[in-house]
Assembly symmetry: C2
Homo-oligomer: 200 residues x 2
């Protein structure tokens, strides 16, 4: 006979499926839920369902949106000649927080990762290539996949796909992050910073 009720066990199990939430944290969250005001818990459950049911992919850039087309693609003030390719909507949100980039986006929803059995067919690539064909105003594609092995491979793959169309293809710069220390920089970053040096 367990000290906790099956309903609590079930809740702990479901919470424990979230990323970064282990069994102990899940248990702490479950007991918090039981102590919390009923309306707070209902609001959380509703927010979960509303987001899951109401959010889908923008038909242009594959970003998360609750409309047919996301706010960025629908914004007439954005520069339609430039498309920034990112791995995920979270990366897109990070780019937007910078308030520097005024162009459009394309979200791949993944990277090419043979180790995880993810090939180009698992990305939103078909949508992107079709978009490039249908929108001749696009002059530059900025490849902003992560500076990881998979991100680099995906960027190279995309660059090779796009090059024949004559569209300019650029990759975000790799180098020392601002405020960091050359002394503590890893060799690969330092090598990238050196090879990517620019005239000042």
């Amino acid at each position: 006979m367990s000290a906790t009720s099956p309903l609590i066990d079930e809740l702990v199990q479901e919470l424990g499926k979230l990323p970064g939430i282990g069994r102990k944290t899940a248990s702490r969250l479950a007991y918090h839920v039981l102590d919390a005001p009923e309306e707070d818990v209902e609001k959380l459950a509703q927010a979960l369902l509303a987001a899951k049911h109401g959010i889908h992919l923008c038909s242009v850039c594959c970003n998360f949106t609750e409309n047919e087309i996301c706010d960025i693609c629908a914004n007439p003030k954005r520069d339609r000649t430039t498309v920034c390719v990112v791995e995920s909507p979270r990366d897109l949100a990070a780019m937007e927080r910078m308030h520097e980039y005024k162009g459009l986006y394309q979200v791949l929803h993944g990277v090419i990762s043979p180790m995880q059995g993810l090939g180009p067919e698992n990305l939103k690539l078909r949508e992107f290539l079709q978009r490039l064909q249908e929108h001749p105003e696009i002059q530059e594609v900025i490849l902003a996949t992560n500076p990881s092995v998979e991100g680099e491979a995906t960027a190279l793959y995309l660059a090779r796909l796009i090059r024949p169309s004559g569209i300019k293809c650029t990759r975000i710069a790799h180098g020392l992050p601002m405020g960091s220390d050359i002394e503590y920089a890893d060799e690969v970053t330092l090598a990238k910073a050196l090879s990517g040096r620019q005239a000042i």
Copy 2:
């Protein structure tokens, strides 16, 4: 214009209200929810609501239960002469994991904490004192509140309340945790270990 949809913002805000979940973690969880299978999210939302609506306090010991009386109080094999007083259902679950204690429990749902404006009236004390009166078979009350300032104060307060009834009142032992090092023990714990020494 935000890069994220209001539904995502709402979900991030609700998740961020959970204890130990900051804005960044809430955002990570929200994007996980959007990527997760729909049925998983529905199961989580249902588990939240089912636990919140289905769980209430045991009419005997104030533990969380989905029945009128919790499994422990309803179990005829438990020793009805001993009641262990704990602060929360989580402490009760910790005691049960030990598989050593065979008596019953009383959950206070809090401690006396003047700093937080919590007095005896905020605890499930009235229920407990009534229970002691109605159940003359209770011979011992084990005070297992936490070894914190508030827990100690609550234990002392309870001991003073219970003593006139003639029921034996004990406090769980304080001392060095098993596997620890005297060298690194704090002074208060070491003093408690010394004053609580027992003949071997």
